[in-house]
């Protein structure tokens, strides 16, 4: 997450340097040599991306399962924690959760659509990107949580399922407030909002904006010219003339969520 942003930022820095360097040596230096340097540094990632693009659907499906498994396990830990699930029940739940995981390949975006005209014409919206080189058209965190809600309902009884649902709902509300708060903060950094303006924008976004669900703040924190894609009237009507001028020149862009769980091989006890 924040760490991923560091990683992503440096990947961006390398891309920039490739551009700068490529421009500088465009006349007489083959760009391919620059790319080789990039491979040296991020060899694993570049190779994975290359492999993914050439993989058959079955392999991509397996790779997606491996990529999402850490998220599933951490969420399972939360499910067990809040429901105080006995060890005897955990095996069945774990198996059911893994079965759900195997059915999540429908989130995969067709790589041809990403590479080709599909993206340019907005035919495919990439919600998340994995460090293993895959693009997803749905939020994997939400998908896993919804799957575990179904698993809990089926295998844990109504009381425990309700306990998980209730705790999850509170977390989602915490996230919603946090993400909207971050958007107001991003706007404030760029537009010098007054207390009243901050409160009003927060209220507007809370009432009428659902973009927080798939938002990843890191990209915006490190790119001061970008802000999330926001409904124009919710912001514009609150600003003064000078702020509106700056606001109109900001680039609205959706940074996909970065899924990079292999940085942490955490032990969840099952």
């Amino acid at each position: 997450m924040v760490f991923r942003s560091v990683y992503q930022r440096w990947l961006g820095a390398v891309a920039l340097l490739v551009m700068v360097g490529g421009g500088a040596c465009a006349q007489d230096e083959p760009i391919v040599e620059v790319e080789e340097v990039q491979v040296d540094v991020f060899e694993r990632d570049i190779m994975i991306v290359d492999a993914v693009q050439n993989r058959n659907p079955e392999d991509r499906k397996k790779l997606l399962q491996q990529t999402l498994e850490p998220i599933l396990k951490s969420e399972l830990y939360f499910l067990f924690m809040v429901t105080d699930a006995p060890n005897s029940d955990r095996k069945v739940i774990l198996e059911a959760a893994e079965k759900e995981l195997r059915a999540m390949d429908d989130m995969l975006v067709d790589q041809n659509a990403v590479n080709g005209l599909g993206m340019a014409f907005g035919a495919t919206t990439v919600i998340a990107q994995t460090s293993t080189g895959m693009s997803l058209k749905a939020n994997p965190y939400t998908r896993i949580q919804e799957s575990l809600q179904a698993v809990a309902a089926q295998h844990m009884g109504p009381e425990k399922a309700e306990k998980y649902n209730s705790e999850l709902a509170k977390r989602i509300e915490f996230r919603r407030e946090a993400m909207i708060g971050m958007v107001v903060h991003l706007l404030d950094q760029r537009l010098e909002l007054s207390v009243e303006q901050r409160d009003q924008i927060k209220e507007n976004l809370t009432e009428k904006w659902s973009g927080w669900k798939n938002m990843s703040v890191e990209g915006y924190l490190s790119n001061s010219n970008y802000i999330p894609v926001l409904p124009f009237p919710l912001i514009d009507t609150v600003l003064n003339r000078d702020q509106r001028t700056v606001w109109k020149n900001l680039n609205q862009y959706h940074f996909p969520m970065q899924i990079n769980n292999d940085q942490f091989s955490m032990e969840w006890g099952f």
Binding site: V20, G21, C25, V82, F174, A178, H185, V246, M266, E267
Partner: protein, 264 residues
């Protein structure tokens, strides 16, 4: 891999890239880093020098308007503040010119390219953390021109704003941690209280503010965290926190973290 390790890694990549690009010239000709390259390093996130200048000028107006929404300013005060803000921009661009001159005078080789990049780093960081900070002319002039009542009103508002920023960054950070280490809202609220306290004296402005929160979370004593988190969560958080160790030096260098808290 830690932040600084990656930073060093990218610097190495930078050098490697430049060497690849200019390597053949080194054998028979000269290395070259021209002003446009330096400009692209300094203003890489602002779409170039001219765009940055326009944004900074617009920021002066925004800052003045923001102050006017809290205290009434006379026309003379507005003029003084605008001049001071323009002075800050000029001071920054003078520093950019100074880097240009230094690079112009360098005899280019591999070390000089690295040195040139190092010269641009403080300017990149200054842009990222904001030109009109506590050290700026604008800030000094503001303090010098306002009455005691105006300063009190402004400080009250700044304090409220700062508390809002701390709360926002802490909750924003915890919401991202929650995606890797799920926590109950009760746990996140308890951590929020601890982090609000521990970041109270830190500098949280600019794009690095959220890293300060991450660093502070990593430094919360084990006993305090143990009262809030389950052992498995605590272990995972510590594992994640280890990655924040590398960033401490950078944040300290930027004057963003106060060391007294660590010494407690």
């Amino acid at each position: 891999m830690g932040f600084l390790t990656k930073m060093n890694l990218v610097r190495l990549v930078l050098i490697a890239l430049l060497v690849v690009c200019f390597g053949d010239r080194a054998q028979g000709q000269q290395f070259q880093v021209d002003r446009s390259t330096i400009e692209s390093w300094i203003f890489q996130r602002q779409n170039g020098s001219e765009q940055a200048k326009k944004s900074l000028a617009a920021q002066i107006d925004l800052k003045i308007e923001a102050i006017k929404s809290i205290v009434q300013l006379s026309e003379q005060q507005v003029i003084q503040l605008r001049l001071a803000g323009e002075g800050d921009i000029k001071r920054f661009y003078d520093a950019v010119l100074e880097v240009y001159r230094k690079v112009d005078d360098m005899e280019m080789n591999q070390n000089a390219i690295n040195e040139a990049y190092q010269l641009t780093t403080p300017l990149q960081q200054k842009l990222a953390s904001g030109l009109f900070d506590d050290q700026s002319l604008m800030h000094k002039v503001l303090r010098g021109t306002l009455s005691t009542e105006q300063i009190t009103a402004l400080e009250t508002s700044e304090k409220r704003r700062r508390e809002q920023i701390i709360g926002t960054l802490v909750r924003g950070y915890l919401a991202t941690v929650d995606q890797m280490i799920p926590m109950s809202v009760k746990q996140m609220e308890q951590l929020t209280e601890i982090l609000r306290e521990r970041t109270a004296k830190d500098k949280l402005t600019g794009e690095y503010g959220i890293y300060v929160v991450g660093y502070r979370l990593a430094k919360v004593p084990e006993d305090d965290l143990g009262e809030i988190l389950q052992p498995v969560q605590l272990k995972a958080l510590r594992q994640m926190g280890n990655q924040m160790e590398g960033i401490a030096g950078f944040l300290r260098q930027q004057g963003m973290i106060m060391d007294e808290i660590d010494a407690e």
